[in-house]
Symmetry: C2
Subunit: 138 residues, 2 copies
């Protein structure tokens, strides 16, 4: 099922190294395509989705379901950031996604598990709210 990614081609190498270079900043399939269009090395959108899917399966990249500009969409970020167990805070005002140490959720995770045997996946945690700047504007 989980086919290994072999990074034999220019495209696959380019996509992974781009995501890694973002150092935790999130990317969407569209933003990745735009990046490569800009650099004069366009990559087909299907190729991008196929690689993202594989990278997710191999745990090299993590996938989040986040409110987009129009409709919900998927966002991706590199393994490094995910390994540090950050949770994501998305501001509903300006759309910025901030990171926050996941440790805060550890005991929540544990008590939910004890009470209902539901095992939370720390990697997918996104909380919504208002950042300081946007809260001030209201």
């Amino acid at each position: 099922m989980k086919r290994p990614v072999r990074y034999r081609t220019k495209q696959s190498k380019a996509i992974l190294s781009y995501i890694v270079s973002l150092k935790g900043e999130h990317a969407t399939a569209g933003s990745i395509q735009a990046h490569f269009n800009d650099t004069g090395f366009p990559i087909g959108i299907a190729t991008i989705y196929r690689h993202l899917e594989r990278l997710v399966e191999c745990g090299q990249v993590h996938k989040y379901t986040i409110d987009g500009v129009s409709g919900a969409c998927y966002q991706y970020c590199g393994k490094d950031e995910a390994e540090h167990r950050y949770l994501h805070l998305k501001c509903e005002g300006c759309g910025v996604i901030a990171h926050y140490p996941y440790d805060e959720l550890d005991h929540v995770e544990q008590s939910i598990y004890e009470e209902s045997s539901f095992k939370i996946n720390p990697r997918k945690t996104v909380l919504y709210g208002m950042c300081a700047n946007c809260a001030q504007k209201d």
Copy 2:
């Protein structure tokens, strides 16, 4: 900006009362349309979206961004359930969405606010993971 919903028409009444009747179960625009098709009182999908949007603006209904069967999509639930401050646990295995008292997150909310002035919106909290049944299958 926030135009009030007046519930003058059959459709608007029907949509709200259907969501309320779900008592916290989630609905998507599609499932709402299917319901009314089944009951012999079809409502156009555009009408459904327009009402959902208004109901969200007025706080009568809350909107969640959740992993769907194909792609991310929006789900809606009535005010009552949201007022009880449940967080949502979505099982990545079977797709079931469970509710859990939000109180567990209170101190997380507070410490994040103290440290970064980010104010979490409890109504939108969705955590992903594995329910007991699906974890057993693995």
